[in-house]
Subunit: 118 residues, 2 copies
């Protein structure tokens, strides 16, 4: 599969895929002419990368953790890092939940005031 097709299938840009390779997150074979040629599994890998980015992990962290996330094998240091990241995500969820509750209260107040005005 060539880069354009992988981009369309995964929903990320061609530029992003080249960037992933630059960051050693994604490998590619090359044709005799030098064009990238991806195996089918690359699609899952790109989606995994996107998920980890969406969780707020940096590319540096992702490149460290990708092996064990996809293979299930990890050194103790990698396990520690995994736990750190999971806890970071949990803390972030708590922050967001508080903010959501706060905004929800503001919305209720505003809506109540508007109804009262009608």
């Amino acid at each position: 599969m060539r880069i354009g097709q992988l981009a369309r299938r995964s929903g990320v840009s061609v530029r992003a895929l080249r960037y992933y390779e630059e960051q050693r997150l994604l490998e590619s074979a090359r044709t005799s002419g030098g064009q990238r040629d991806y195996p089918d599994e690359a699609l899952e890998r790109v989606q995994l990368i996107q998920d980890l980015f969406a969780a707020g992990l940096s590319s540096r962290t992702v490149v460290e953790l990708l092996p064990c996330v996809s293979t299930g094998v990890a050194t103790p240091a990698m396990l520690d890092q995994l736990i750190i990241e999971r806890d970071r995500i949990a803390a972030r969820i708590e922050d967001l939940t508080r903010a959501k509750t706060k905004l929800g209260r503001v919305i209720e107040n505003v809506a109540a005031a508007n109804v009262a005005q009608d």
Copy 2:
């Protein structure tokens, strides 16, 4: 209160406070010598700004929503924006929860493998 004290009390940097003013998120009176002078309420306001930033809102959005968040009075357009932001936060929470679950499973697998190896 001067800027250094507000910075210490709120836990944000002096630079950040000046930035908030530049973005019209925070006002200040000035002494005859041109130094910023904040009322006590500024502390709550700074904390509110931090909360909204932590929720992932941009300074542009915060400057639009700050009036109604602190006063409870909002135009219909502001109410719509509030709802949009709340839903965005909710969606983000779902993303993070999925990622956390995924990492949790990886951690369990790795831990199980390590125990088996002992």
